[in-house]
């Protein structure tokens, strides 16, 4: 218990750090500036700003904004990225409620009831309850991370290469089970990601692999490059297909009366609680994350509600539960990343990419060697949530205005912004071309119903998996049974196998599809 408090206070110490700023024009007087809080605030603001744009999901937002954190010190950069992430999530909900165009899968369910509420002139309460629910969920999840962080790190230190490999297999299987659509295609995407991660030089021998003597490929495909291509450019091209404005139905009523009534609060309080619990659990699971959490929370609310017929017609529980779950999961999905060094979903994979750029390899070692970084980030999550509550509600008017920006002006701006961002990573024009190629690849994948998110996950886990597989087999002198004879590893593998079997079983498949189909009728 004492540990948790000392860790959290260390974290808040980092977040509330003041830097003395002595501008020349003041003649020696120095002004204390809370740098990290400012970064968190800017991150949340910019994240919301981009996340609110229709058709741009959380992953795309984080990928696009990654370059603006490159110039910062590591702690500041990660705090800002965390802010961007929450901002993007909240921006996505705002769009679903006001325009009925969910920026990403996670807020699809919010659109169901949120947009109906907005049509009835209750956009204010819908937005407010989304923010309040998210804030509550964020508080709970922050405490949960603080409680689970230390013991999981200890567990992680007991892991050998075999266990790590098995854990990653389990994570990838989870990603498949919880993804929507064809299981086979999701696995294929992961393997394609693994394969792409092999490009570059071999870690042990330094031999150049599949790089075709192209110097820019010698270090492998850049992670930020790939992510921006697959999510930024591909999304733009796909949205152009849809013909821009035609299906945008922005709520025309003025957003007035932000505060929910006492009855709204009473109605949604239990839903927020249930959503938080469900989201926290699903977020920790590798492969889980925000999407499945919001779907599951909505389904649960509808199942246990006394008035299920109200869902889809503007039930406030239908906004409160998925939004809380969404946010709780977004936050607890940091747990496997920070303690085990394994990103549980595509956004966390981007976080790994950002950490690597700053020379940090996430995992138990970071927890021990750079506690200020880890706990600072955890504390900043709570601060970030608070910021969202404080800045988003008063700024709703601005977000609404932003939603009116026509797509024909928005998309060339995004193309340019992404291009400059990618170029600035390495000052390499080739990177921009590679991102363009992946933009087309992503477009093709979407057209053939392949989901690009698992690909990103495979891409990040590839080198880690190879390294641990090689090491495990070297230690066991080439004996593949090591993954089954070491108890911890065996348990992880057994869970993975069990899950895979369950997913293929017809009854469970139907259940799983039901959860996702929920949004369509």
């Amino acid at each position: 218990m004492g540990d948790i408090f000392s860790n959290l206070s260390l974290g808040f110490g980092v977040v509330f750090q003041f830097v003395q700023w002595t501008p020349a024009f003041l003649g020696g007087t120095s002004i204390p500036i809370p740098v990290n809080i400012l970064l968190c605030l800017i991150g949340a603001l910019v994240g919301t700003l981009v996340g609110v744009l229709p058709g741009i999901g959380t992953i795309a937002t984080v990928a696009m904004l990654l370059p603006i954190t490159f110039g910062l010190p590591p702690v500041g950069a990660l705090i800002m990225l965390a802010g961007i992430y929450y901002g993007a999530q909240y921006g996505g909900s705002t769009t679903s409620i006001l325009v009925n165009i969910p920026g990403e899968a996670g807020s699809v369910v919010t659109a169901l009831d949120g947009f109906q509420m907005a049509k009835q002139g209750r956009a204010g309460p819908a937005l407010a309850i989304a923010a309040i629910g998210s804030f509550f969920a964020g508080c709970v999840a922050t405490v949960l991370i603080a409680i689970l962080g230390a013991p999981l790190t200890k567990l992680a230190l007991a892991f050998g290469p075999a266990e790590y490999f098995s854990l990653m297999v389990l994570g990838l299987i989870f990603a498949v089970v919880l993804a929507k659509g064809s299981v086979l295609k999701a696995i294929a995407m992961i393997v394609l990601g693994l394969l792409l991660s092999m490009v570059g030089s071999d870690i042990e021998t330094g031999a150049s692999r599949m790089a075709f003597n192209i110097p820019e490929l010698a270090d492998g495909l850049g992670f930020a490059t790939l992510a921006m291509g697959l999510f930024g450019f591909a999304e733009i091209i796909r949205n152009l297909d849809a013909g821009g404005e035609s299906d945008r139905q922005l709520v025309q009523q003025k957003v007035s009366g932000l505060m929910p009534t006492a009855r709204d609060l009473r109605d949604s309080a239990p839903a927020v609680g249930r959503g938080t619990v469900l989201g926290s659990i699903l977020g920790i699971l590798p492969g889980g994350g925000a999407v499945i959490a919001s779907f599951a929370a909505y389904t649960l609310e509808k199942k246990i509600s006394k008035t299920p017929q109200k869902f889809g017609r503007g039930a406030i529980q239908g906004v409160a539960a998925p939004e809380s779950a969404n946010n709780a999961a977004a936050q607890t999905s940091f747990i496997p990343l920070l303690t085990l060094g394994i990103p549980p979903n595509a956004v966390m994979a981007l976080m790994v990419g950002a950490m690597t750029i700053h020379g940090i390899v996430p995992g138990p070692q970071v927890m021990q060697k750079q506690p200020d970084l880890v706990w600072g980030m955890i504390a900043s999550m709570w601060v970030g949530n608070l910021m969202l509550l404080v800045i988003n509600l008063p700024l709703v008017g601005i977000w609404v205005r932003l939603l009116r920006v026509p797509y024909r002006l928005m998309f060339p701006s995004i193309v340019i912004f992404c291009s400059i961002g990618i170029y600035s990573v390495n000052n390499a024009p080739t990177d921009v071309i590679i991102a363009g190629v992946f933009g087309l690849v992503g477009y093709w994948l979407i057209k053939h119903d392949f989901e690009p998110a698992p690909l990103l996950l495979g891409m990040v886990l590839g080198p880690l998996m190879e390294e641990n597989l090689r090491r495990a087999l070297l230690i066991s002198r080439g004996d593949w049974s090591v993954f089954l004879t070491r108890p911890l590893s065996a348990v992880l593998m057994a869970i993975a196998a069990g899950l895979l079997v369950l997913t293929v079983l017809p009854t469970l498949r139907k259940k799983r599809d039901e959860v996702f189909v929920e949004s369509e009728n």
Partner: protein, 166 residues
């Protein structure tokens, strides 16, 4: 975003026995990538005793992808599914052109020129573009980026064409 399966039969280039063209083509493409990767990694060293060579892991993943591709293709033959989605040429073409133009000009012409040209090329990707406002927004955005990236974020970006700096 996909062609709805209930639509009147779209003229399909696929033979009749392919009942799920989307998966069929997708699976074949995956197999193609796998074969290409197998070829590209064929010059790398394989297993030496019980230690992995540089080529072991790539070949392993490529083989796995080959199998998965084959399975997806099989699904495409055996199950009913969606028609190939319709492709549009305008958006992809101009967005790609814009990206290529940016990559080719950024080194020699600097960011201001590159960004503005690419903005205008990208804008051709939508039939709804109105030129007056596009030019104004393009200029404003370029100015914003010229301030944001080099000054606010401290990233080393060259703003002006090389010949003007000299």
């Amino acid at each position: 975003m996909n062609a709805t399966p209930g639509q009147a039969p779209v003229k399909s280039i696929m033979p009749k026995w392919v009942r799920n063209p989307q998966d069929f083509v997708g699976g074949i493409a995956m197999m193609g990538i796998a074969v290409f990767a197998l070829w590209a990694s064929s010059d790398l060293q394989g297993m030496r005793g019980f230690s992995f060579g540089a080529g072991t892991a790539p070949r392993m993943f490529a083989t796995l992808l080959l199998g998965l591709g084959a399975a997806i293709t099989a699904v495409g033959v055996l199950t009913e599914g969606q028609h190939l989605a319709k492709y549009h040429w305008r958006g992809p073409l101009f967005v790609t052109l814009s990206i290529v133009s940016f990559a080719l000009t950024i080194r020699s012409m600097g960011m201001i020129f590159s960004a503005l040209t690419s903005f205008l090329i990208a804008a051709c990707g939508s039939p709804e573009t109105r030129w007056m406002e596009t030019v104004i927004v393009g200029v404003c955005l370029t100015a914003f980026c010229a301030l944001l990236f080099p000054y606010a974020l401290g990233l080393p970006l060259q703003l002006l064409p090389t010949f003007m700096i000299r």
